[in-house]
Every structure is written in structure tokens, then in C-alpha cells.
């Protein structure tokens, strides 16, 4: 953990969104968290049909409307203006979270402050005593969606690892994350460890390990690009 790596290292935010989108199967029902996950909607491969759910009561969320066509009563969970695709449906909040809590959402992509090697997620509170805490739907999503993907920069703005042995910030849920997409790598949470799936092209394993607060397992099949040797 000696090298502080520039946040620009490896994949861009759009690259990460593209990597996530590529892993979402045809016909999946997907919820996208606020922030980096939101851009996944723009990268679904041609010919693949993915239906986006937003927890404020819309199944079949489409992209942002053209400027001037915003409808203040058609927004997503991040309160941004969106559109509804042909075949969309509207429903109330209890029905919307019944979809989530009942295990009907195939994949939810969330941002993270910290992820542990056992899949614990912290993404709702910095633990500051006097700031009003805010949780939104994150705890419902991690408890209910079939699979939780995390999309995040590999390190904090000050260069600290977000992927750690144990989270130190307040938990959103325990053992809930199955895969993490960062600017440096894609990692599965498996058997209580971060297991490398794919390394960003200009990142080597040592740099990845140095910027991670837990030991990374490298299975033989991992796509480690040009700089595979640790």
C-alpha cells in the first residue's frame, strides 16, 4: 500500500460503466444507484434488452430527456429527469420496494465508500455525529436484489483503499456484494476474498495490490492483460 495511484489510472468512468453493462444479460431487470452506476444505462450493447427499475416507482426507465423536455413528475431515484420506455409501468413506493425486497431485481449496481473482502458494503454514512444521516433505498436494495455489483473508484480522493479486509464505516449490509468494478480492476467476492477477474490494461498486479486494503487472489483464468505477473 505504498503507491498512491492517480484516480485517472486504468479505466475511465465510462469504461467502468461499459464493463458493467457488458455483464448484464439480455432480459435482466436492473436497478442503478445514484452516481457512477447511472451511466450504465448508456452502454447496454446493441440487441440486448435490459429493463431498468427506479425505486421511486418506474419499471422501464429510459435515458435523460432532451433539454427542454424535462418533466418534473418523471424522475429517477437520484431525482434526475428521465424518460419512460415503450412498455414501461408506474407503481407506488410500497409496490416498488416489494419488487426489491421480494428478490425480483436481478442486478443492482451501487456506489461504495468501502467494500470488504466478505462483501460487506458501506455506502451511506461517513459516521459523522452532527451531520444528518441519509440512507435512502440502499439498505433495501442490498438486502433484496439478487446480485449486487459495486461501481467505484478504487481509492478515495485522498488515495486510501476502498476495498478492505473489514469495513470501518457504518454498514449498508453484510455479505451482500458479489462483484466490484473499479478504475483498476474487476474483482469478484468469493470465499471471503477479492478474486481478480480482469485488470485494467495499464495497471499491473502490484499496483492493484498496493492500492487495495486486502489480499487479492489471482486465479489462473483471470484476464490480467499485459502486466500479469505479481
Amino acid at each position: 500500500m505504498t503507491t498512491v495511484t492517480n484516480m485517472a489510472t486504468g479505466w475511465s468512468r465510462q469504461d467502468i460503466a461499459r464493463k458493467i453493462a457488458a455483464d448484464i444479460p439480455d432480459g435482466a431487470f436492473v436497478n442503478l444507484g445514484i452516481g457512477m452506476p447511472e451511466s450504465v444505462v448508456n452502454h447496454i450493447p446493441q440487441g440486448r434488452e435490459v429493463i431498468f427499475h427506479t425505486e421511486n416507482g418506474l419499471l422501464g426507465m429510459g435515458p435523460a430527456p432532451p433539454a427542454g423536455e424535462e418533466d418534473p413528475e418523471l424522475i429517477n431515484a437520484g431525482k434526475r429527469h428521465v424518460t419512460a420506455i415503450t412498455g414501461a409501468s408506474f407503481f407506488h413506493h410500497a409496490d416498488s420496494f416489494a419488487m426489491i425486497r421480494g428478490g425480483h431485481i436481478d442486478i443492482c449496481v451501487l456506489g461504495a465508500m468501502q467494500v470488504s473482502q466478505t462483501g460487506d458494503l458501506a455506502n451511506w454514512s461517513m459516521g459523522e455525529a452532527d451531520a444528518a444521516p441519509a440512507v435512502g433505498g440502499a439498505m433495501d436494495l442490498v438486502a433484496g436484489a439478487k446480485q449486487i455489483f459495486v461501481a467505484t473508484q478504487h481509492c478515495t480522493k485522498s488515495g486510501k483503499p476502498k476495498l478492505v479486509e473489514s469495513i470501518t464505516l457504518p454498514a449498508t449490509g453484510l455479505a451482500v456484494v458479489s462483484r466490484v468494478y473499479t478504475n483498476m480492476a474487476i474483482l469478484d467476492i468469493r470465499n471471503g476474498a477479492f478474486e481478480l477477474v480482469e485488470l485494467a490494461p495499464d495497471v499491473d498486479l502490484q499496483t492493484l495490490q498496493d492500492n487495495t486494503g486486502a489480499t487479492i487472489i489471482v486465479p489462473v483464468h483471470a484476464e490480467t492483460g499485459k502486466a500479469a505477473s505479481l
Binding site: 418506474l58 413528475e73 431525482k79 444528518a132 435512502g136
Partner: protein
């Protein structure tokens, strides 16, 4: 004859009393019954417990109700949104109480309250600070927490159309919490973009059946919170 139409927002909210619990529909500005909230500010009731997903924006609507110190306690999932400074400021000064509830648990607690279910189990929040002190229990090997139904004295709701009997439909994602809130209050007060005769709304498409609605106020061109915030408006 059933007649639920009130001639003004002021008359519809006149009996909201000090200390009342008030459910307020809306997710951000979408579905926020801003005219009813402003009438409530004018009316003057204090020490309210207010249930809403957020805490309002700028210095109008729910944020203005809070800023005018009418709210003793907020029950919500996300008290910090864009342009929301009123609640965070009061909270940091310890001048307002907050019950933070995960968004889905909040919706389900209100739905349970309206449906006569005093308590239910959910996996949401297990293993987190928000589950501390709550009863835990395993079903089929998974851990759940007990959550309680939430009812209220009043609900303030915005809708697209309401008919004479009290049937209601909503507009897109402005629906959000309003249908469950309508079921969970002793008195449900609706502001409608349009008031229509019965039969105008398709029976298969009614979202809130007449049984849940007590009072209707027609507000044909409601204020838009984001426009007021952008213009720097402060209410009153």
C-alpha cells in the same frame, strides 16, 4: 350525497392540530402537495411529526414548514438532497428530531399501517446501525428485523385527478408514497390538478379508491417547487 370538495386549501387543513402526525406525499418535488403545505404553514399548527421521504428543498414547501419551526420530528429516509439546507442546519443544532428509516421499510411501514398490520419482519437493515435495538428473528435460516406499522392523523397528497367520490389517479413518478399514505391516515386530504365527475376515471386504472380520500382541493396550476427554489422564493 358524497361531497368531498373543499373550496380552499386553507379550509381543508383547518383542523390539523398541534402535535399531529402528518404524512406528506412526494419524492423530492415530484408529487409534493405544495399548496396544502403552504396552507398548513399559514394555519400555524406546531410540534408536528412529519413523514416524507425527504425534507424539502430551498425555502418553500416542506422545507418552509420546517424552517418556520412547525415540525418537531421528521420520519424520512433521505433528509439531505440538492438545495436542502433547512433541515440539515436545524439537525446539526439539535433543534429537530430525526427518525431515519430505510426507504422501502418506510413505504412498507406506511402500507402496513393502512392495512391493519401492526408489525412485520424484513431483512432490510439487518447488520446495520439502523437495526440496533430492534427485535431480530430468523425465518428459514435468514435474519430479519421487526418493523412496526405507521399510521397518522392526516395525509397531505397531490394527484393528477380526483373524482367526486374520492377516486384518485396520479401522474408518472409523482405517484410514489401517496397511495400508501392515503390508506394510513385518519383524514386524507388531496390536492388535485383536476376535479372530475365520477365515471371520468377508468375503474380498472384507479390507484386510490374513494374509500381512502376524505377531502379534495382543486389546484389546477400547482406551483413547481424547483422553479420556486431556482427563483430564490421564501415562503411565506
Amino acid at each position: 350525497m358524497i361531497h368531498k370538495l373543499y373550496d380552499s386549501a386553507a379550509s381543508a387543513v383547518a383542523d390539523i392540530f398541534d402535535g399531529a402526525t402528518v404524512l406528506i406525499g412526494g419524492f423530492g418535488e415530484a408529487g409534493s402537495p405544495i399548496e396544502l403545505i403552504h396552507a398548513l404553514i399559514d394555519q400555524g399548527a406546531r410540534e408536528l411529526t412529519v413523514v416524507n421521504n425527504n425534507t424539502g428543498s430551498g425555502h418553500v414547501g416542506l422545507a418552509a414548514l420546517i424552517e418556520n419551526r412547525r415540525v418537531a420530528k421528521m420520519i424520512c429516509s433521505f433528509p439531505r438532497t440538492a438545495n436542502s439546507t433547512v433541515f440539515p442546519d436545524l439537525y446539526s443544532k439539535n433543534k429537530i428530531e430525526l427518525e431515519l428509516v430505510p426507504q422501502g421499510t418506510l413505504a412498507e411501514r406506511i402500507r402496513a399501517g393502512g392495512a391493519g398490520i401492526p408489525a412485520f419482519y424484513t431483512a432490510t437493515s439487518v447488520g446495520t446501525q439502523l437495526a440496533e435495538g430492534k427485535e431480530h428473528r430468523q425465518f428459514n435460516g435468514r435474519e430479519y428485523v421487526l418493523e412496526h406499522g405507521l399510521t397518522a392523523d392526516f395525509a397531505l397528497i397531490k394527484c393528477r385527478s380526483a373524482d367526486r367520490l374520492g377516486n384518485v389517479i396520479y401522474n408518472k413518478t409523482a405517484r410514489n408514497f401517496s397511495p400508501v399514505m392515503a390508506t394510513a391516515a385518519q383524514t386524507t386530504i388531496v390536492q388535485a390538478d383536476e376535479y372530475v365527475p365520477e365515471g371520468k376515471l377508468e375503474p380498472e386504472a384507479i390507484v386510490t379508491p374513494a374509500i381512502y380520500v376524505d377531502r379534495i382541493v382543486a389546484v389546477s396550476t400547482p406551483l413547481q417547487e424547483s422553479e420556486l427554489v431556482a427563483a430564490g422564493v421564501q415562503y411565506p
